[in-house]
């Protein structure tokens, strides 16, 4: 009997849990995102700092004598590039939050800032909220998807780079030296991915236009990034960098990874600012995802 001959069948089986539906939503979003060839190319482009890191690593380990695993002198260290040493976490952390920060913004804009706005634009929220999902479940699914995609840029590639380094190293001493800081390093990268995806997904609730959401996210990050630097220079206090969400996240990330930081502002203030940002963005998203907003 073919599909078309079956007519309508009853479904008597059990229903999946809400958690399973949230997981499905996240996984479906990741698959949908990677189904586009253009996105795959964009993703590979955003991994540019990884390729540079890989070349440096290859030069030091394979083309070099295998003994000297660092490059760059005191000047680089002072500018926060302290860790172009393969056995320090900074080597794996700096390419994404330092040299490649603009690519992180761009990538997060594309994968996270459009998460909810795309659905708003297509009136899909009406479909989601009339299923067995509450707005909070929907948001959790979308954030989980954005986080997973951000991990694809911030966590997994650099973890893979480290694993590669372990196998390229002349002996297991490299593994013994680097393994102790790996958990803290992972925590820091996961923290950056979580924070960025949370803020971008929350902002994504503000509009029905993907373009506007992307512009708001990148424009907001860039504007506050510049403002922080202008105020810091004008006022002569690094604390003004707290107005920039990116600097706040990076400061905490440096601390978690135990990496030398270029930011001279107090960690406690950074944590307070981060909590404020996360809670404020969450409340904003909560307001914008009220069903009445969706259908009015």
């Amino acid at each position: 009997m073919g599909i078309r001959d079956l007519g309508f069948r009853r479904y008597e089986g059990a229903r999946t849990s809400t958690t399973a539906r949230v997981r499905y939503l996240a996984w479906a979003e990741v698959r949908r995102t990677f189904a586009a060839k253009r996105f795959v190319l964009f993703y590979l482009f955003c991994l540019m700092p990884l390729y540079v890191s890989f070349v440096i690593m290859y030069m030091l380990m394979v083309l070099g004598d295998g003994e000297h695993m660092s490059m760059g002198g005191g000047g680089m260290r002072r500018r926060g590039m302290a860790s172009l040493a393969l056995d320090e976490p900074g080597f794996y952390f700096w390419p994404m939050v330092g040299a490649g920060f603009a690519l992180v913004w761009l990538f997060s804009a594309v994968v996270s800032a459009g998460m909810v706005s795309r659905d708003r634009g297509a009136n899909a929220l009406e479909l989601y909220f009339t299923r067995g999902l509450r707005p909070v479940h929907y948001f959790a699914g979308k954030w989980l998807a954005a986080f997973a995609l951000m991990c694809g840029q911030l966590v997994l590639p650099y973890l893979a780079l480290w694993i590669f380094a372990v196998f390229l190293a002349p002996d297991w001493d490299f593994l013994a030296r680097t393994l102790p800081w790996i958990p803290a390093y992972l925590l820091a990268t996961v923290f950056v991915a979580l924070s960025v995806s949370w803020l971008a997904t929350c902002l994504s609730c503000s509009t029905s236009s993907v373009r506007f959401a992307v512009l708001r996210w990148v424009g907001g990050l860039f504007g506050l990034f510049l403002l922080g630097r202008v105020l810091t220079r004008t006022m002569g206090q690094d604390e003004w960098l707290l107005v920039s969400p990116w600097d706040v996240i990076v400061r905490i990330g440096h601390w978690l990874a135990d990496v030398r930081t270029i930011h001279d502002f107090t960690l406690e203030y950074a944590i307070l600012a981060w909590v404020g940002l996360v809670v404020g963005a969450g409340l904003f998203a909560w307001r914008r995802l009220e069903p009445v907003e969706v259908v009015a």
Partner: protein, 317 residues
């Protein structure tokens, strides 16, 4: 509430003093009605409050007052469980962006709690059932309005809900598609025991499908009940088709104290005191005429609607 007890409930929807507001505007004003099993039409002009009722019951809008029980669930507190047993087809164009018809229906199925394998299988089946099987691998954005409408219906059906909320389901369909969809809906009610609330301003769709009707005007319920009762003629009246002398028939009616209204050269509407039209044959015999056609007079749903919603509906119509 257990699923068994919910399913066993014969009153599907019961609203009491249900009020929905958008800010200071009252969209639904203390609406109370009961919907039994089967197909029920929710009729009203654009902006009457039909969609607001459906959306509030589904949890999309928070009611300002009153209560709603649907399938035995309290809509205010058991919304999550309730929505697994309701299939909703929205009025406006709503789609999961960037997906094909199959992926859209599959997503709807998974989000309604169907396991992966069953969801995929049912998605294929339901798309064929709704007449979009051949188009299922095309992106929704590339499909015609009619096709998208059918995909929305498939999304509403895929998780085998006990109750369907269909908001203007035949919008954008060509005549053939409209007939197909109405036939499918009729078959779902008749052959598969589905119940549905059909919100529409196309009276003929409701008339052809629904056994029960709720009329709403400016947020207030103005009439409700079985369609057969509502369309029953005012008083006891019969439509009579004659062969023979019509004038004599009219004189004979007047002589017997019956009220007759001439509808055409040989057709009459006769009001009587009884449900039994036998006396009309005696009248015809006395007038030397023959009755060729005889039926109880029924009002159309349009008549009922216009009478219920009043002058403003007539002007709008």
């Amino acid at each position: 509430m257990s699923e068994t007890s919910a399913a066993a409930h014969s009153t599907l929807v019961e609203l009491r003093d249900y009020t929905v507001r958008y800010g200071s505007f009252t969209a639904v004003d203390r609406a109370s009605f009961v919907v039994p099993e089967g197909a029920c039409g929710l009729l009203g002009q654009n902006g009457a409050g039909k969609s607001s009722i459906l959306k509030a019951v589904l949890g999309l809008l928070e009611p300002a007052g009153g209560s709603a029980r649907v399938l035995g669930y309290d809509a205010a507190t058991d919304g999550l469980q309730l929505r697994d047993h309701i299939g909703y087809m929205p009025e406006r164009d709503a789609a999961f962006p960037g997906l094909t018809a199959l992926e859209s229906v599959l997503r709807a199925a998974r989000l309604s709690g169907l396991p992966a394998r069953e969801a995929r299988r049912r998605s294929h089946e339901v798309l064929f059932l709704c007449g979009v099987g051949e188009e299922r691998y095309r992106k929704l954005a590339e499909q015609s309005t009619g096709m998208r409408q059918k995909v929305k219906l498939a999304q509403a059906l895929v998780h085998d809900p006990a109750l369907l909320f269909l908001d203007e389901p035949t919008n954008g369909l060509d005549p053939g598609g409209r007939i197909e969809v109405l036939a499918l809906l009729r078959s779902l009610v008749r052959d598969h025991g589905k119940s549905m609330i059909l919100s529409s301003h196309i009276l003929s769709d409701v008339e052809s499908l629904c056994a029960h009707v709720v009329l709403i005007d400016k947020g207030r319920i103005v009439a409700q009940g079985p369609l057969a009762e509502m369309t029953k003629g005012a008083g006891r009246a019969f439509r009579v088709g004659l062969a023979g002398d019509g004038e004599a028939f009219a004189r004979e009616l007047a002589a017997r104290g019956l009220e007759g209204e001439r509808l055409g050269p040989q057709s009459w509407l006769v009001r009587m005191d009884s449900d039994e039209p036998g006396a009309l044959f005696a009248v015809a015999l006395a007038a030397g005429a023959q009755i060729r056609h005889l039926e109880a007079d029924r009002r159309s749903l349009t008549d009922v609607f216009l009478a219920s919603v009043g002058k403003s509906a007539r002007e709008a119509g």
